[in-house]
């Protein structure tokens, strides 16, 4: 199974387990393309991933 290639993180590693709780940060060095990835675990155990563009050059989005 899983024949598609996994996106290689440019640093850090997506194999690391998510950590943090609610608003806590985790794995701040994971990237995909121009985005940084922050993994969190919600209070009920569900995963939450936040993606942010690395260059905050005023694209008009929060």
């Amino acid at each position: 199974m899983a024949a598609r290639s996994a996106e290689p993180p440019s640093s850090g590693g997506s194999d690391n387990p998510p950590s943090g709780s609610g608003g806590g940060h985790a794995q701040p060095h994971e990237h995909v393309g121009p985005l940084t990835i922050e993994r969190h675990v919600k209070d009920d155990g569900r995963a939450l991933i936040l993606y942010a563009h690395e260059q905050r050059d005023g694209d008009g989005q929060a």
Binding site: A3, E7, G33, K42, L50, A62
Partner: protein, 310 residues
């Protein structure tokens, strides 16, 4: 936990996710679970005061580990935006998020097909207005992607490549194109304003695309979405379905996983500004769509609307 039952007469799986009956239904803006969490306000699904793009496991999943996955992709923290009104950079970023989720979910042993989609509008069953899409990690290869593999066999190669060549030769149904992507109303569209957004080059998945191709895809999707809104001068409901290669292949195994051609299909239910196309006797009972609109005529109107919205 959902239950799968195989429908022998249809030759397909049916998913029973009875817990979804209780999911949040069209809350007012003050109680939107996809908005950011503001100080002093209720905690939403995203416990931060601002965010760009957020992905989380669905609270009411159709699939969940160890038998698949169901995720929600929130495009922005702005409640009143839509995919069509996102800044171009945000839309491009969304392509990278889709790519990341496809790669990560597709690497799981329990997922055979990663299906990224958006339902827009109450006409297609939206229960939350905040701009968002969903991802299902199917623990089996669903019928429509499976049929696309059958089409490959029937056409003697990649079916989307063949159909794209035909559309480019004909030209009459093309509504938009850029260096990476061609958008057309397919010759045998089921829906009046159905459109397919197809990569020019053979790319099985988002993971096979160059960065500029992802930018081209985002631009084409937004151009089409804005054209839809301009078509009848109203928010245009649609189902947007991202089709990519199976991640474990299902029938055909690894060979099938090497196939597939990234394209995005839009199924809008409107046939006029006020009239919906319903799936009735022939569509549901016989499986044959009856359309009262010719794709060539729809394409002309949609092409004009896209140009007008540009």
């Amino acid at each position: 936990m959902s239950e799968l039952r195989f429908n022998e007469l249809r030759g397909e799986e049916v998913v029973y996710a009875i817990h979804r009956q209780e999911r949040t239904f069209l809350p007012d803006r003050e109680h939107c679970p996809l908005c950011p969490t503001h100080p002093g306000g209720p905690t939403t699904e995203i416990p931060f005061p601002a965010f760009e793009i957020a992905v989380f496991e669905n609270r009411f999943p159709a699939f969940q580990a160890p038998n698949g996955a169901a995720e929600v992709v929130v495009y922005t923290d702005r409640h009143n935006d839509s995919f069509s009104t996102l800044a171009p950079q945000r839309a491009e970023d969304l392509m990278w998020v889709w790519r990341h989720r496809y790669a990560e979910l597709g690497a799981r042993e329990d997922i055979e097909y990663v299906f990224i989609f958006e339902n827009r509008g109450v006409e297609v069953g939206v229960t939350l207005h905040h701009p968002h899409g969903q991802i299902y990690g199917f623990p089996f290869l669903p019928p429509i992607p499976a049929l696309e593999l059958v089409a490959d066999e029937r056409l003697g190669g990649c079916a989307p490549c063949t159909l794209l060549r035909r559309e480019l030769t004909d030209g009459e149904r093309i509504v938009y194109q850029n260096d990476s992507v061609v958008v057309f109303v397919p010759r045998a569209a089921r829906w009046a304003y159905e459109a397919h957004v197809v990569m020019r080059e053979h790319r099985p998945s988002l993971c096979d695309c160059e960065a500029e191709e992802l930018a081209g895809l985002a631009g084409a999707l937004q151009s089409l979405a804005r054209g839809y809104d301009a078509l009848f001068d109203r928010q245009f409901p649609y189902v947007m379905a991202v089709h990519q290669a199976p991640t474990s292949g299902g029938p055909g195994g690894a060979a099938a996983a090497a196939r597939g051609h990234l394209h995005v299909e839009f199924y809008p239910p409107l046939r006029t500004a006020e009239k919906l196309k319903y799936l009735a006797g022939s569509e549901q009972g016989a499986g044959t769509f009856i359309s009262d609109t010719l794709p060539e005529e729809s394409a002309a109107k949609l092409r004009e609307a896209i140009a007008r919205a540009a």
